[in-house]
C-alpha cells in the first residue's frame, strides 16, 4: 500500500523531473551568464549609470542607434511589400504549386547565412553580375557601388527575414474565409475596395506580428552589416563587438547590450500580447 503510494507520487512528478535538463540549460547556460554580462553596464568601472549617460551623450552612438532603427524599419517595410504577394498567392493557388513556392522559401531560409552573403557579394560587387548587366543594357556607363552600402545591408537582412513575414501573413490570410472575398465581390465591391475593406483588416494581425518578428530580428543583426556594409552601417551588435574586441571596453558593450535587450523586450512583450489570442508557436490552439 505504502509502496504503491510512493510509486504513484514518483510517477506524477516525473514530468517535473523531465524538465530539469532544460531548466539547467536555460538558467545556468543562458539566463545567468546573460544577466551577469548585462550587469557590467551598471557595476563597472563604478556602480551607477555613467556608462549609459556616456553612450547616450556620444554622437557616435546616437548615430548607431539611429542607423539600427532606420535599417530595421526599412527591412520591415520591404519585407511587408515583398511578402504580401507571395502569401496571398500561396493561399489561392493549388496545393502542388503552394508546395513548390514554400520549398523555394524554405531552402534559402535553411541555407547557411554565410553562403547567402557570399552569393550576394558576387551579385553586388563592382564587377558583379548586376553591374555587368546594367552596363550591358546601357543603363549605366560605369560600375555602381552597390556592395558595402546601406542598400546592400537592407537587402541582405531582408533576404534573411522575408520567410518570417511570408509565413506570418500566410497564416493570417489562410484563416480568412474565402467566402468573404466572394461575398464582397458579389455585392458589387471592386477589387481595391475589397482589398482595403475586407482583406487588409483581416490580414493586419499577420502583418503586425510578422513586422514585430522582423523588426526584433533586425535590431540585433550582426553578420550582414559586418560583411555587406561599411563602418557607416554599423548597427548595435557591431558596435558591441567593436567595444569587446577592439576597445576592450566591456562595461560600455554591456550598456549598449542593455539598450538593445530593452528594445527587444518591449517589442517581444507586445508581440506576445498580440499572439495571446492566436497561440504561441508550438502551442496547439
Amino acid at each position: 500500500m505504502r509502496g504503491e503510494d510512493w510509486r504513484q507520487r514518483l510517477r506524477s512528478s516525473a514530468p517535473l523531473f523531465a524538465l530539469l535538463p532544460f531548466l539547467f540549460v536555460v538558467v545556468a547556460l543562458f539566463a545567468v551568464p546573460t544577466l551577469r554580462v548585462l550587469s557590467k553596464g551598471f557595476l563597472e568601472p563604478t556602480p551607477g549609470l555613467a556608462n549609459f549617460t556616456a553612450i547616450f551623450g556620444n554622437p557616435l552612438y546616437q548615430q548607431v542607434f539611429w542607423t539600427t532603427f532606420r535599417i530595421s524599419a526599412l527591412v520591415t517595410l520591404l519585407a511587408i511589400v515583398l511578402a504580401y504577394p507571395v502569401a496571398r498567392f500561396a493561399t489561392e493557388c493549388r496545393p502542388l504549386t503552394r508546395n513548390i513556392v514554400f520549398a523555394m522559401v524554405l531552402v534559402p531560409f535553411w541555407t547557411s547565412l554565410l553562403v547567402r552573403i557570399y552569393g550576394w557579394t558576387f551579385i553586388l560587387q563592382r564587377t558583379g553580375i548586376l553591374n555587368e548587366t546594367l552596363q550591358a543594357l546601357g543603363l549605366t556607363s560605369a560600375p555602381l557601388k552597390l556592395l558595402y552600402t546601406e542598400g546592400a545591408v537592407v537587402l541582405g537582412i531582408t533576404h534573411y527575414m522575408l520567410p518570417f513575414m511570408i509565413f506570418s501573413i500566410y497564416v493570417a490570410l489562410k484563416a480568412i474565409d474565402p467566402n468573404l472575398h466572394k461575398a464582397a465581390t458579389t455585392m458589387g465591391a471592386r477589387t481595391p475596395r475589397v482589398f482595403f475593406k475586407v482583406i487588409l483588416p483581416l490580414a493586419l494581425p499577420g502583418i503586425v506580428t510578422g513586422s514585430l518578428l522582423v523588426f526584433i530580428g533586425s535590431l540585433g543583426f550582426f553578420v550582414t552589416p559586418a560583411l555587406m556594409g561599411s563602418p557607416r552601417q554599423m548597427m548595435l551588435a557591431n558596435v558591441i563587438t567593436f567595444q569587446v574586441q577592439e576597445a576592450l571596453d566591456w562595461p560600455k558593450a554591456s550598456a549598449i547590450a542593455m539598450v538593445l535587450i530593452l528594445a527587444v523586450s518591449i517589442l517581444a512583450w507586445i508581440y506576445f500580447r498580440l499572439v495571446d489570442r492566436v497561440a504561441l508557436p508550438g502551442e496547439a490552439k
Binding site: 551568464p33 554565410l114 553562403v115 557570399y118 564587377t127 466572394k182 553578420v223 558591441i240 527587444v264 508550438g282
Partner: protein, 273 residues
Amino acid sequence: MSRRRGPPRLGRWLLRATVALVLLFLIAPALIVIPLSFAGDAMTRFPPSQFSLLAYRNFLYGPGWVDSTLFSLGMAGTVMVLSMVIGTLTAYGIVSAGGRLKRALSILVLLPMMVPTIIFAIATYWLLADWRVLGTFAGFVVANLVLAVPYAIITIRNGMEGLDRSLQKAASILGARPARIFLKVTAPLLLPALATGGLFAFLVAFDEVVVAQFVSGSFAVPLPKRMWDGILYRWDPAISAISTIQIAITVAVLVILGLLRRREEQDRSKREV
C-alpha cells in the same frame, strides 16, 4: 472556378509576376554560387566560361577547410543528439504541465530565440572562460546547445500534442508497462517529429557564426567562422565549393523532412480511417 476565386485576369498575372520575382530574389544567391563553384576562370567573371573543379580541389587540399568541416559536423551532430534527448524530456514535461506553468514554459523555450545572439555571445564568452573551455569542442557544444535546443523542443512538442492518446491507453489496458509503451508505441509515432527537431537543431548549430566570433580558438574553427574570414580577408575559391556542398545538404535535409511529414500525415489519415 478560378475566376471566382482570384482577382481579375490582369491582376492575377501581375500577382504571379511579382511572386516569381520575389522567389527569384530568395534563390538568387544559390543560383550564383553553384555555377561559380565549377568555374575555371577568374572568380569575378559571370557567367563562367570554362568548367573546372579547382574550387573543390582547394576545399580538399587548402589549409583548414576539411578540419573545419569535420569540426562543425561533429559539433553540430553532438548538439543534435543532446537536443533530441533534452527536447523529448522537455516536450514531455510541457505537455504534461497545465495552465500557467505550461504558458510560462512555452515563453521560456522561446527566450533564447528572442534574445539577440550577440548578447548571448558575449555572455557565453565569460561562462566558457570560467569553465576553461574557450576555443574547445566542448565549449562550442555548450554554446550551440542553448541556441539549438528550442527548435528541437518546439518541434517535438508539436509532435507530442498531435499524438493519439488512445493508442497509449490501449497499450496500457492490454497490460504494457510504461517503458514498453514508450518504446513500442510512443517512440515510433514520435519518430518524424524527433528527426525533424534533431535536424533543425543540427542546422542551427552548423550555421552558427556570431558566438563563434568570440569563442573560437586556433584549433577549434567551425566552418562558418572560416568562411567569414575568407569572405572578409582572403578570397578563396574553396568558399564556392563548400557553399555549394552546403546548399546540397540543405536541400537533402529538407527533402527528408518533407518525406517525414508526408509519412506522418499518411499515418494520421490512416488512423482517421
